[in-house]
Symmetry: C2
């Protein structure tokens, strides 16, 4: 969809944020579900914040949007990536499963390997891989 190419905005928490030639990587999984930087960033934020609402807040995302992304993440693999606990006084909590942690870590390794490939393959052709 060439007409829909747009400037790639990197999540603040991206491990390659600010790196030259930062890749934006979307990986097609079952049922057309896509594993991309937003879902991975959300997994990392849930691990850090301990709740979907806290993660959404930290990402400046609506709770509804975060919930929908978690729902998609939990349909992507054979087991859930995020587990939630019911409300209670402190409100409901959420944690990512070992699978969720493995998926996020695998995505970041793929991202890092892609960045190496970009530098090696494209670096010789461009002194201007963008820092932004």
């Amino acid at each position: 969809m060439p007409g829909k190419i747009k400037a790639a905005k990197r999540p603040a928490s991206s491990k390659v944020s600010g790196e030259r030639g930062c890749p934006r990587l979307r990986i097609g999984l079952r049922d057309g579900l896509i594993l991309g930087p937003g879902k991975v960033e959300l997994l990392e934020a849930i691990e850090q914040e301990g709740s979907i609402s806290g993660a959404a807040r930290s990402m400046g995302m609506s709770y509804r949007r975060a919930w929908l992304l978690v729902d998609a993440l939990n349909r992507m693999f054979d087991k859930p990536a995020v587990l939630t606990s019911p409300g209670g006084l402190r409100g409901g909590g959420a944690e990512i499963t070992d699978l969720g942690k493995d998926v996020a870590a695998a995505y970041r390794r793929i991202e890092d390997r892609t960045l190496v490939a970009i530098r090696e393959e494209l670096g010789p052709l461009s002194k201007d891989i963008d820092l932004k």
Copy 2:
């Protein structure tokens, strides 16, 4: 932009079209310009068709859109990626430069290396990397 994650549509000519876990890769170059699959596919189509209009037609894209993408491509690097020749009886022609060929080939190599990384890193976690 997690909310804007959408199913990645692969260009028909993508070398990894139909591959499991097909990546969609956008690479930030100078001035926020992005090298993505659409521009690379257009470079390949121009090489094949010998004109921007023919390339646009083969991609089901408007001439205007193709022209704008070529303009962006030619501002991405120190030298142009596409050269055009004025009208004449057969209409204007276009060809990609050696730099354009190198850029397209480098992008495809990056894509292939990313696909290997996806299979190695994510494959063990998912039997359901999508074929679509």
